[in-house]
């Protein structure tokens, strides 16, 4: 079953990357998808990242109760945790729920209402027209959202630390500016790129092969979120193991 699905997924991805009939039409769809995935998810990602940054700072401060450890280390741990793990992974998991279910149900509804059949009869490569713009939007907008998330998580740590008294702003800023390794950002961007592809392609696959009616569209949407989340966590482990 797994291998059948995986084979179908690979064949769909192959069809997605066929040469578009007309790039001008595809660009329009790409910008619409970028707006939907990127701008549409910005506020949610911003709220979650800021709060996670704040909570992380307080929890690190709670655990590092030693006079031997400078409190600036709190900022440093929060920065590296946000860049390497929290921002890419939490953002991806949130987007798998928000964007993934939306893509799956949108394409699934088009399948059950025969709109995809209509595209195919017109001679249009339906996987390319429907999925390629979403995949391109995913692999470009998820990294951008992750960058924003990293900044907001670090800012949230500053605000949370200052408001709770866990760490002074001066110590925190000293921590986040000291011993910075730019390679961590590269790891975060690779993760974001892969997660963007995983979220959009898996949810599109689930929607594209829906059979039945609205009940099956809902089930496909749920399934796309579950599979995307598991795949994100598996890819997270593999990328971390390979790059660090």
């Amino acid at each position: 079953m797994f291998f059948t699905d995986f084979g179908k997924y690979l064949l769909l991805i192959k069809a997605v990357f066929k040469k578009p009939e007309k790039w001008r039409i595809y660009w329009k769809e790409i910008f619409l998808s970028m707006d939907n995935i990127g701008v549409g998810s910005l506020s949610l990602v911003a709220i979650i990242s800021t709060f996670i940054g704040a909570v992380m700072t307080m929890q690190i401060a709670f655990q590092l109760v030693s006079d031997l450890i400078p409190s600036s280390i709190i900022g440093q741990i929060n920065r590296d945790s946000s860049i390497l793990e929290l921002s890419p992974t939490i953002t991806a998991l949130v987007l798998a729920g928000k964007v993934g279910s939306s893509i799956s149900s949108q394409i699934g509804s088009m399948r059950v209402s025969e709109q995809i059949d209509a595209l195919e009869i017109m001679g249009i490569n339906a996987p390319g027209y429907l999925i390629l713009p979403k995949v391109i939007a995913g692999i470009t907008m998820v990294p951008l959202l992750v960058i924003i998330s990293i900044f907001l998580a670090i800012f949230g740590g500053l605000a949370g630390g200052a408001l709770s008294g866990a760490v002074t702003p001066a110590d925190y800023i000293m921590g986040i500016t000291g011993d910075f390794n730019g390679y961590t950002v590269s790891v975060a961007m690779v993760k974001a790129f892969v997660f963007g592809f995983v979220i959009t392609s898996i949810s599109a696959y689930q929607g594209f092969y829906v059979r039945g009616g609205s009940l099956e569209v809902g089930q496909a949407s749920t399934k796309s979120v579950v599979i995307s989340c598991i795949t994100i966590l598996a890819c997270d482990y593999i990328i971390t193991a390979l790059m660090l």
Partner: protein, 250 residues
């Protein structure tokens, strides 16, 4: 002309089509009729390439469609117009955008030329001025007519209609039938209609193919259908009380 030859199609253990062969002439309306589950829609989907038959051929004017790859089918598909049972209009597009979509994809027409074409198609289906409405703002009959307008945008040689009258009141059904008839004559299309509707059978059926349990049980014209001695066909055609009255008068 479209020819289907010895088409077989199964879904798992369920054998839906069992060796269907038929010829559909240009400029005529061919109806595929039969009870639910008889294989009508499956045959139609095999003909347009939405299903791949297990065996058999679909031939469009001498070209064997079933052997072609997706890319090789595109020139034939540009000559196909299809009206779906639920119209299958693109929800996110206006009526005009639905109609000019294939023109945008496959032609280099200017914007004004495309709009002129959309207006022509909308006038043809008596929906002039409805360009900016979305499918959700249309009635069932209007959706069908927009579906027809979209189907004729590229001036098709082959027109397929999957239950064009389903869910419509009798008067709107007759209007849709008349529209299909006029378009077939105007564009000399090879028109194939899958239907349950007996008004369509009697009104526009130049050639009728009756399927029973996945097999061709009868073929002929609407003038011949009332005088057959095939039990399954008579049971199907004269099932309603109204048609029983009609039969007595024949």
């Amino acid at each position: 002309m479209i020819e289907v030859s010895d088409i077989y199609k199964s879904f798992g253990e369920n054998e839906v089509l069992k060796g269907i062969s038929a010829q559909f002439e240009p400029g005529k309306i061919s109806l595929i009729i039969g009870g639910s589950g008889s294989g009508k829609s499956t045959l139609l989907k095999c003909m347009v390439g939405l299903h791949q038959p297990d065996s058999g051929k679909v031939i469009y004017d001498g070209t064997e469609f079933t052997r072609l790859s997706f890319e090789e089918r595109i020139p034939i598909r540009k000559e196909i117009g299809m009206l779906f049972q639920n119209s299958a209009l693109f929800d996110s597009m206006t009526v005009e955008q639905n109609i000019i979509f294939s023109l945008e994809m496959f032609t280099d027409m200017s914007k004004s030329e495309k709009i002129d074409r959309a207006n022509f198609c909308l006038e043809r289906v008596d929906l002039a001025g409805k360009n900016d409405l979305y499918p959700s703002e249309l009635s069932g009959g209007m959706k069908k007519r927009v579906g027809i307008a979209r189907a004729i945008t590229m001036t098709p040689k082959y027109l397929f209609c999957d239950e064009p009258n389903s869910g419509l009141d009798p008067q709107t059904s007759i209007l849709i039938d008349e529209l299909i008839k006029d378009i077939t004559e105007e564009f000399n299309t090879t028109t194939i209609v899958v239907t349950h509707d007996m008004n369509s059978v009697m009104g526009i059926g130049d050639y009728i193919l009756f399927l029973y349990q996945g097999k061709k049980a009868w073929e002929g014209s609407n003038k011949e259908i009332a005088h057959t001695d095939i039990q399954e066909l008579n049971d199907f055609v004269f099932a309603s009380p109204f048609m029983k009255v009609v039969k007595k008068s024949l």
